[in-house]
């Protein structure tokens, strides 16, 4: 390439030589602290002549005449134009830009002057949102940008928060915005949709790639919201884009910065939750005893039992006697009645330490800039079962070969080690409408769901066991024997080449290669309950009911037998990502007569991502014995007969190519017009050439009203009106336009063979999910930036959305994925920043933002089942929002205390057909959207001398939450109970005063034809009385910081130092009382999900 370019360079120099007449030199400094500024652009406006300052801020330039002017421009500083006036030495002190980054919009493809940017974009500097306790950068945007909703559905490290920009653009597809780091799309380690994130399954911990990023390496976030801002991302931009720019080297003295954050987790307490104490629980267990639900026979064959069951089993084993006259052994029970175990105390750490250390070195001169950093994070975890360490390193070098050619080289890597409680994936049971997770030992779920009459330790202080899965169980022991180890290795290398072919023509090239390996190892030790459960066959009862025992089908006379005679499991999942990305572009910009500016950006993009996943289950691993493996062949038969394979291989390949062109015209920076056209192709739709390509486009304009001569309101510094209309798109979920055959192994007692089945039929009509958006916005700034902000209104037309569609079945698929739905949304965003008070020593700054989106499904060729619509996450129904929450209509308790519900005719019933699709809206009550429509934040910064104090609130509103399932036809003495049980139905007549259903007696439970009554309890959990308003206001963070005076710092050779204390998630200011402490943001799905912790953080920053 150099061969072609050299003549061009020579040509340019020739021009320069010819017009050389006299030389000006000088030094450029910062007016703030007088430091020399290297790399400042010094140009002669209207010509191609220009240079940059050296490491000492010195420049030298040849001008054509003494009447020329010189322009000094430097990023983050206000450009100065100085007349030469026949001087040969001109020293300039540049003013730091008041809005700094705000002046430039970084789209990832280009950097555009804010004044001529026509899209809706908000820039956030990390320094302004850095919450010292947060370890994952994506969580920091909560409440910071109007229109961006961040739901921290789990506080466990590595889980992607659910981020949405302007609500939803897809019904079943991904709604997460595109994450771009330094111009390159950051692929997630595992591709999970927003619905997958809330499952609490182990793979959620390796969903986020952002989690590998050291937040201290980030310079800024740029949130691109409307179609114009995201236009250059074409077919991936539908959900908006978040561009992250990392820190880079600066010319000048080498600088070392250290940041240390020390956080303490505060553990949850019972007064946040609606749980009975052990005394009240025991009185309910006594009622269950009286009703015949727990007795000596049920206890012997119970899958799980607590104190009461333990008493019976010990009586049955003649270890303790009956009480007086064959009554309960009160002496035994009293110990548990008064136990009042504080499970949060047992399972959560009191002041667990989380530390983050980050050291960075910044250096540079006129030929070279460098940024190097190393970060270490160690979180001991909120609970005794989780912890994580992250090591991250970055080396970023910029080489300036000459004033035209520069090259960035970036190497980043991070390594993570994490431990999480062992978990299985959850299953949805369409019969009861509940999610089930077997062997769940999630500390939070355990604390919330386990009876307080169960004790972790016995009277002698040794571990005390109760029964779970027909086997002795102690949570402390189980957590130490059943856990998941996660390691993540993520390395990437990136080069950015920039070459000024001519002053107004630049060629840029970005190349990135990345490799990320994720490994999850689930250790199920041989002594863990989960392994021992395979070995419990103590009694005939247990033999008959333990589903983990194997009954040999070829020997019908055989007793169920153990198939895991020794050892536990070692289940390993490996996920690898190989990623390659390149983008090459040309940017041309030309100004005519100083008023007409035309710019063109054109280029191409290629993306290549290969993912492989491998799952292998080791069976019969004896950890105590050097990891020897003893697999019973019958175990393999046992698994095969149930269609379970112990090994799985997955592949995923993504190929993407795009061409783009963007042109802009601005008249005197007053009227701006912009247009973008992109043409993208992908392999995701299969080998179909029809569906593969899609053009997207966008037109936009802006009017800088403040530059009009008629507009002479002095109070306005800046006023811009802008409008956009354009098309963006995204690939939908499960998209394949061509026949998709998958292979499997037949599930039969004999004649096992490999076979193929049709996963998807050819769908020649398939196309991308699309979004047409119209946006009008105003950017304003008044009274010398004392008041500034933006207002946006938009309407979005999402169409060709992909989802399951019920066909007539004749073509061979009852349900097909295709473009089956449309959705309309409109909303507004409002953001305002004000400087309320500004004195020499004291200032008070406020920023407030709010965004609201109302979405409505306008076409949906498929209705969900009742079972789908009543779950926590809601379902898509025509005319409603993307996720509408429905409730069964509670019609009061009947004369026996059993809940009843209104059917379509308003008659009381116990039972709905949960598979019904046709009468959903007439049977169920629509409660509202299950996802917040509105969200925002309110921040206040007070500074007094060297102190600053920040209070930040975030809020969400207009949505409903399904309360956790608390009622069941059958309770055990293992499970905790809600406080509302105190008001439960006990005697006839209570139905007039209470809504809390009766505890069913044995007779009802075991009577024939009781299925409807039992289902009434499941419906009750999903009823109108089990819904709460989700709106909340949270005191997200409070921070007090002190900046040490520089005269102190100079004594120890430091340039700056700051100390701060911050509290996070301290107080839920407002939330629905019905939630009883249930965190409205958190989905208590068990598994590996833990709520966001309350954190107290001390942070120190020091620079040399």
């Amino acid at each position: 390439m150099m061969r072609f370019l050299l003549p061009a360079i020579v040509l340019c120099f020739g021009v320069l030589q010819l017009s050389a007449q006299f030389k000006v030199s000088g030094k450029v400094t910062s007016s703030k602290d007088g430091t020399e500024l290297p790399g400042v652009n010094v140009t002669l406006p209207g010509t191609t002549v220009g240079t940059v300052t050296d490491a000492n801020g010195v420049y030298s330039i040849t001008v054509s005449s003494g009447t020329d002017t010189l322009s000094f421009s430097y990023i983050s500083y206000t450009t100065q134009v100085v007349a030469v006036n026949q001087r040969t030495v001109i020293n300039v002190a540049l003013e730091p830009d008041a809005t700094e980054l705000g002046e430039v919009v970084i789209t990832g493809f280009q950097e555009v002057d804010r004044k001529i940017f026509t899209g809706a974009a908000v820039s956030v500097k990390l320094a302004d949102v850095r919450s010292s306790g947060l370890t994952d950068a994506s969580q920091m945007l909560e409440g910071r940008v109007a229109g961006v909703t961040v739901d921290n559905v789990s506080g466990t490290f590595g889980t992607n928060p659910k981020v949405r920009i302007r609500g939803n653009t897809s019904i079943n597809g991904d709604t997460q915005p595109l994450m771009v780091v330094d111009g390159v799309i950051l692929e997630d380690l595992n591709q999970l949709t927003a619905d997958d994130i809330i499952t609490g399954n182990a793979n959620t911990l390796t969903s986020s790639s952002i989690a590998g990023l050291n937040p201290d390496d980030i310079e800024s976030f740029q949130v691109l919201k409307d179609a114009s801002a995201t236009a250059l991302y074409g077919t991936r931009a539908k959900n908006g884009v978040i561009v992250i720019t990392t820190k880079r080297g600066k010319s000048g003295q080498p600088r070392v910065n250290y940041t240390g954050n020390f956080s303490f987790h505060l553990r949850p307490t019972y007064n946040q939750f609606d749980i009975l104490n052990s005394g009240d629980e025991m009185s309910i267990y006594r009622e269950m005893y009286e009703k015949g639900l727990i007795d000596i026979t049920t206890s012997v064959k119970a899958q799980n039992f607590g104190a009461m069951g333990k008493m019976f089993s010990m009586i049955s084993a003649h270890e303790i006697p009956w009480g007086v006259n064959g009554s309960l052994n009160e002496e035994f029970l009293n110990k548990y009645e008064n136990a009042n175990t504080d499970w949060f105390d047992v399972l959560f750490k009191d002041y667990s330490l989380q530390q983050q250390h980050s050291v960075s070195l910044t250096t540079g001169n006129d030929k070279y800039n460098g940024y190097f950093s190393f970060g270490y994070m160690n979180d001991n975890g909120q609970s005794i079962a989780d912890n994580v360490k992250r090591y991250s390193g970055t080396a970023k070098s910029t080489f300036f070969f000459n004033e035209r050619l520069s090259l960035d080289l970036k190497l980043t890597g991070n390594y993570r080690e994490q431990q999480a409680p062992g978990t299985q994936n959850r299953d949805f049971d369409p019969i009861t409408g509940r999610y089930k997770r077997d062997f769940d030992i999630n500390p939070l779920s355990y604390a919330l769901n386990t009876s307080r009459s169960i004790r972790p330790y016995d009277d002698n202080g040794s571990l005390e066991y109760f029964r779970r899965n027909y086997t002795p169980f102690n949570i402390l022991e189980e957590l130490s024997l059943n856990f998941i180890n996660i390691t993540v290795n993520d390395i990437s290398a990136q080069t950015d080449l920039s070459y000024n072919i001519r002053n107004n023509l630049t060629f840029k090239s970005v190349i990135q290669g990345r490799y990320a390996a994720t490994k999850r190892e689930h250790v199920i030790h041989e002594w863990s309950n989960q392994a021992e459960a395979y070995r419990s066959d103590d009694t005939q009862y247990i033999q008959d009911s333990n589903p983990l025992l194997y009954k040999d089908p070829s020997d019908p006379t055989a007793q169920p037998r153990i198939v895991l005679p020794e050892g536990g499991f070692n289940n390993v999942s490996d996920d690898n990502l190989r990623y390659f990305y390149t983008r090459n572009s040309l940017n041309w910009s030309h100004t005519i007569d100083n008023v007409h500016n035309i710019s063109v950006l054109t280029g191409m993009e290629l993306k290549y991502a290969d993912r492989t996943s491998r799952r292998a289950d080791g069976i019969g691993v004896v950890y105590e014995n050097g990891g020897v493996v003893n697999t019973d062949p019958a175990m393999i038969d046992f698994l095969q007969q149930q269609g379970i394979s112990t090994y799985a291989l997955g592949e995923d390949h993504e190929r993407f190519a795009g061409l783009f062109i963007n042109t802009g015209y601005s008249f005197n920076e007053k009227y701006i017009f912009n247009g973008t056209l992109r043409y993208d192709g992908t392999n995701r739709l299969g080998k179909s050439k029809n569906a593969r390509y899609l053009p997207t486009w966008n037109v936009s304009g802006a009017w800088n009203i403040d530059r009009e001569s008629f507009f002479n309101l002095d109070s306005f510094d800046f006023l811009k009106l802008r409008a956009t209309y354009g098309l963006t798109a995204n690939l939908g979920p499960n998209t394949s336009a061509l026949l998709n055959l998958k292979s499997g192994v037949t599930l039969r007692p004999t004649d096992v063979e490999t076979y193929l089945f049709i996963e998807d039929l050819t769908n020649s009509d398939l196309t991308w999910e699309k979004l047409k958006e119209f946006n009008v916005g105003i950017d304003y700034s008044l009274y010398n930036n004392r008041i500034s902000g933006t207002v946006d209104f938009y309407t979005r037309d999402c169409y060709d959305l992909i989802g399951p569609y019920q066909t007539g079945g004749i073509g061979g698929k009852e349900f097909k994925n295709g473009n089956y739905a449309d959705m309309k949304a409109n909303g507004f965003e409002f953001g305002i920043n004000t400087v309320n008070v500004k004195f020499k020593d004291f200032s008070w700054l406020t920023s407030f933002n709010i965004g609201y989106t109302h979405d409505r499904i306008t076409r949906l060729d498929y209705t969900p089942r009742i079972a789908d619509a009543i779950v926590q996450g809601g379902a898509a129904v025509l005319g409603g929002p993307r996720r509408a929450l429905f409730s069964t209509k509670f019609a009061g308790l009947n004369q026996y205390g059993i809940p009843t519900f209104e059917d379509a005719e308003g008659q009381p019933v116990f039972f709905y057909d949960l598979q019904d699709r046709d009468n959903l809206t007439s049977i169920l009550k629509y409660e509202g959207p299950a996802e917040p429509r509105g969200a925002g934040g309110f921040n206040n910064i007070f500074t007094y001398k060297n102190f600053s104090f920040t209070v930040f609130f975030s809020f969400k509103f207009d949505y409903k939450i399904r309360l956790d399932d608390a009622f069941s036809p059958r309770y055990t003495d293992f499970n905790s109970l809600s406080k509302s049980f105190i008001n439960r139905w006990v005697v006839p007549g209570d139905e007039l005063i209470t809504d809390i259903p009766v505890i069913l007696d044995k007779q009802v439970l075991e009577s024939a034809g009781n299925a409807e009554i039992l289902s009434a309890y499941d419906l009750y959990n999903k009823s109108t009385v089990r819904v709460a308003d989700g709106s909340y206001v949270r005191l997200k963070s409070v921070r007090l910081a002190y900046t040490f005076p520089s005269r102190w710092m100079n004594k120890i050779g430091a340039t700056n130092a700051q100390l701060s204390v911050e509290g996070q998630n301290l107080w839920l200011l407002y939330s629905d009382k019905k939630l009883n402490g249930q965190d409205p943001e958190f989905f208590s799905s068990g598994g590996v999900a833990l709520p966001q912790p309350k954190l107290i953080t001390t942070a120190i920053t020091i620079g040399f």
Binding site: G603, E651, F757
Partner: protein, 480 residues
């Protein structure tokens, strides 16, 4: 400038040309390409519907109002001959969609098999199996969702869509055609399949695929339903002629040789049993404790007496009987469970069902002989069955049959006996319903509120087209 333009154009075209089509050809995941006859053969494993037409039992006259089982909406709807709105397993809609799913697999194979590289004989055998599965699927659908074949009206009676090519549109409209058209196409595919099928390519027992015996049994059923007696006899005889006893289960021996009930029902549908001509995995709750069942009285009235006054081994004391609430079942099918995950109690019940049994072919032929008034031949066939079903191998005579029914007509006595044997032999297997349709039998169902009647030519004997197929695919519903 010119130079620069050239450079930029060169860079852009170089990089983008290299990309495009070939770059985007890569498969997005680990899907399988249908590019060899071996894979085509594997795809045909999916050409057998995993749906069951068990709802016909709950609609038919083999059950009564029993209690104590799990009764879902579809069970009540089947029993009351209401429109069955549920789409769960054991419903017409489920049978419809799973059968068309199986047909789609056959069509994908037939669409490409000629062009695939590979062994020609294997390709022929694969095509043969594909034709047979396609014919069988459509035949069972037309038998359930259309009027029984009547040569007088078949060219007017609405049939079901006969699909012969893969569906490539997202939403496709279909038309039903006539019963005559469907039967013509079934016959064509069946003959093509019979001609090509080559079971030497089947691995294992070959019973999970259309082997030649199963194809003959299918032809026997097809021509019986069509009323083509000669052809029915022809294909039945092709199967049975060597030794009819070979294809009749020896229940006595099965009972004596198996250790317990579990072992017996396992053997009953086992591929190694020669009477099981074609077996198939069906996802069904039928063998589990759901729906309506025959009452003990009903069982004793069915099996309590016979012209031979001998013990019927099908209700032998040793024969395993399951209690379904207040109902009884003669155990025939295993109920197996597929868990959604190892430790989960959520999953699907399935069973291994015999789609064709030798006994049916024998009774088909006997029926045809009777209808052709070749009563001695019919009696000979009946003798085979009677030997295997009744103690002491009683001799079948027309006199005994006439005496038993109190009928003087030889044909009528024989015919009545054949239909009765069909009912006894195939109880719980769903076949009785087709006899109810073929012979316009009325059905009455007891309900606590009053007895319900299904008249002999009741329109509700024709299953209604599933709602989704009416709404989305544009099919005309059956009259009600």
């Amino acid at each position: 400038m010119n130079m620069i333009r050239k450079i930029s154009i060169a860079i852009l075209t170089l990089t983008s040309a290299a990309s495009c089509d070939s770059f985007l050809e890569t498969n997005p995941d680990n899907r399988v390409e249908l590019d060899s006859p071996e894979k085509a053969a594997q795809l045909l494993t999916s050409a057998y519907s995993n749906g069951a037409y068990t709802f016909t039992e709950w609609m038919g006259d083999n059950v009564t109002y029993t209690t104590g089982t799990t009764i879902l909406t579809e069970h009540i709807q089947s029993y009351m001959w209401d429109e069955i709105t549920s789409i769960n397993q054991d419903t017409p809609a489920n049978f419809w969609t799973t059968t068309y799913e199986a047909i789609a697999a056959a069509n994908e194979v037939l669409a490409v098999i000629d062009e695939l590289p590979g062994d020609r004989d294997l390709k022929k055998a694969v095509a043969g199996e594909a034709y047979l599965t396609r014919a069988y699927g459509h035949f069972m659908l037309v038998s359930l969702f259309s009027k029984h074949y009547d040569p007088e009206t078949a060219d007017e009676d609405p049939g079901i869509p006969y699909v012969t090519e893969p569906e490539t549109e997202f939403v496709k409209k279909y038309t039903r055609g006539t019963v005559e058209e469907v039967f013509e196409k079934v016959e064509a595919d069946l003959m093509e399949g019979l001609d090509l099928v080559d079971p030497s390519y089947y691995a294992n027992s070959g019973k999970y695929h259309f082997n030649r015996e199963a194809a003959l049994a299918f032809a026997s059923r097809f021509y019986l339903f069509k009323g083509d007696l000669d052809n029915c006899i022809k294909y039945s005889s092709e199967l049975l002629d060597s030794d009819p006893y070979l294809y009749i289960k020896d229940i006595r021996e099965l009972l004596d040789q198996t250790a317990n009930a579990d072992a017996f029902i396992k053997e009953y549908s086992d591929p190694t049993d020669a009477s099981n001509l074609l077996v198939c995995r069906q996802i069904t709750n039928f063998p589990v404790n759901v729906g309506y069942w025959p009452s003990p009285n009903m069982i004793s009235s069915f099996y309590g007496s016979n012209p031979w006054d001998e013990n019927d081994v099908r209700v032998d004391q040793q024969y395993p009987i399951y209690l379904r609430g207040s109902g009884w079942t003669l155990a025939k099918n295993e109920f197996l469970f597929e868990r959604s995950s190892l430790t989960s109690n959520v999953g699907l019940y399935y069973t291994i069902a015999s789609l064709f049994r030798g006994e049916e072919v024998l009774l088909n032929r006997a029926e045809c002989y009777a209808l052709q008034n070749k009563l001695n031949l019919a009696v000979a066939d009946l003798q085979v069955l009677v030997d295997m079903r009744y103690e002491n191998e009683p001799t079948v005579t027309l006199t005994a049959l006439k005496n038993y029914y109190g009928i003087s007509n030889n044909f009528q006595a024989t015919f009545t006996y054949i239909i009765e044997e069909r009912r006894k032999e195939f109880i719980h297997e769903g076949l009785r319903w087709f006899d109810i349709k073929r012979f316009n039998l009325p059905v009455s169902h007891f309900m606590p509120g009053g007895t319900l009647q299904l008249t002999s030519e009741d329109l509700r004997k024709i299953m209604q087209i599933p709602q989704a197929a009416i709404d989305v695919a544009g099919l005309t519903p059956n009259p009600r």
